[in-house]
């Protein structure tokens, strides 16, 4: 490039030289900005735990005492994987996990019952319903940015208890986590 610029001397007029030099200046500036952006991007000081939070919340919903899990009244033993249908509601879920700042994780839990070879919704409950309803449409639409959220779905086979009897079912949990 320098050789070329030297050759320009005496062959072309000043205006022509400047026109050519300006293109080099732009090129150098763009390359430097790109390198800086790359360095900036590779220096990562963020810690993203968005994939773990729904796992922890799900673990708490399914395995905590005083949550939706069936507990033997006499022994106090917790039967993980068995859902107590009487406790499967918004109030119990909100009591089992709450944050001082409400814009936190929220979830919709659909309990399906098995009828023949088909599944039918038996009951639905929400964790932090207000924020679930606000953020779920944004998360479903794939909108990015701080105002939006991410959606995580978990489906597991469960058993549910209703009036002393146990039935097979399926639990579909949709977690919405604000960005």
């Amino acid at each position: 490039m320098i050789k070329k610029i030297k050759l320009l001397k005496g062959k072309k007029g000043t205006a022509e030289q400047w026109l050519e030099i300006i293109s080099y200046i732009i090129l150098i500036s763009v390359v430097m900005v790109l390198i800086f952006a790359l360095v900036n991007m590779l220096i990562n000081t963020g810690v993203n735990v968005q994939n773990i939070q729904p796992e922890v919340a799900f673990y708490r919903i399914m395995y905590s005492p005083n949550s939706i899990t069936y507990t033997d009244n006499i022994t106090g033993e917790l039967y993980t994987g068995i859902i107590d249908l009487d406790r499967f509601d918004n109030e119990i879920l909100d009591k089992s996990i709450s944050y001082s700042y409400e814009k936190q994780i929220s979830a919709r839990l659909d309990l399906y019952t098995v009828i023949g070879s088909r599944f039918k919704i038996k009951k639905t409950a929400y964790l932090n319903q207000v924020w679930y309803e606000r953020l779920e449409p944004l998360a479903s639409a794939g909108i990015i940015g701080l105002g939006s959220a991410k959606k995580f779905v978990k489906i597991i086979p469960v058993t549910y208890e209703e009036e002393g009897d146990f039935y097979p079912g399926l639990l579909r949990a949709v977690f919405v986590l604000p960005n």
Binding site: I5, K6, L8, K9, T14, Q17, W18, I21, Y24, I25, I28, S29, M32, I35, F36, V39, N40, I43, N44, T45, G46, V47, V49, I52, Q53, V56, A57, Y59, R60, Y63, S64, P65, N66, L78, K95, S96, I97, S98, Y99, S100, Y101, Q104, I105
Partner: protein, 140 residues
């Protein structure tokens, strides 16, 4: 001076500026403890979160190799660099954990002189235990 000389001066100045900015940026990132503070705040908060699910007693040993002070409140973990400044004037990193009305969290403030301690859940109370009985842990 001709246009080539102007170009050369500009290119050298631009390159110098570029090296200076990148050097400072990388230097700040290397010396910054923000990543470690964020990591430990999240790790401890998720640990306390998980402890809420335990049916029975639960003990976990935890080590803090960094020069940080940290606090456990009833809603979050707060981490700051160790300093003599009042807490409000330090850069804080915090992370919320999910609480509930069945488990109590005993607030505590730990300074850097303690690097090994245990998180405990006993009788529906989560607290931090330090091996030495002489250490009195203040509240945040």
């Amino acid at each position: 001076m001709n246009s080539f000389l102007y170009f050369l001066i500009f290119a050298v100045a631009l390159f110098g500026l570029f090296v200076y900015v990148v050097y400072n940026k990388v230097g700040a990132a290397v010396g910054d403890t923000a990543f470690a503070r964020r990591l430990y705040a999240r790790d401890m908060a998720l640990l306390v979160d998980s402890m809420h699910a335990a049916d029975g007693n639960f003990t976990i040993a935890y080590e803090m190799p960094w020069d940080f002070d940290f606090g456990l409140t009833d809603e979050k973990i707060i981490i700051t660099e160790h300093s003599d400044k009042p807490l409000e004037k330090r850069a804080q990193t915090s992370f919320l954990f999910g609480r509930n009305e069945y488990v109590d969290v005993k607030p505590v403030w730990i300074n850097r002189s303690i690097i090994m301690y245990t998180f405990k859940l006993k009788n529906d109370t989560i607290y931090i235990h330090v091996p030495s009985e002489d250490v009195v842990l203040p509240e945040p």
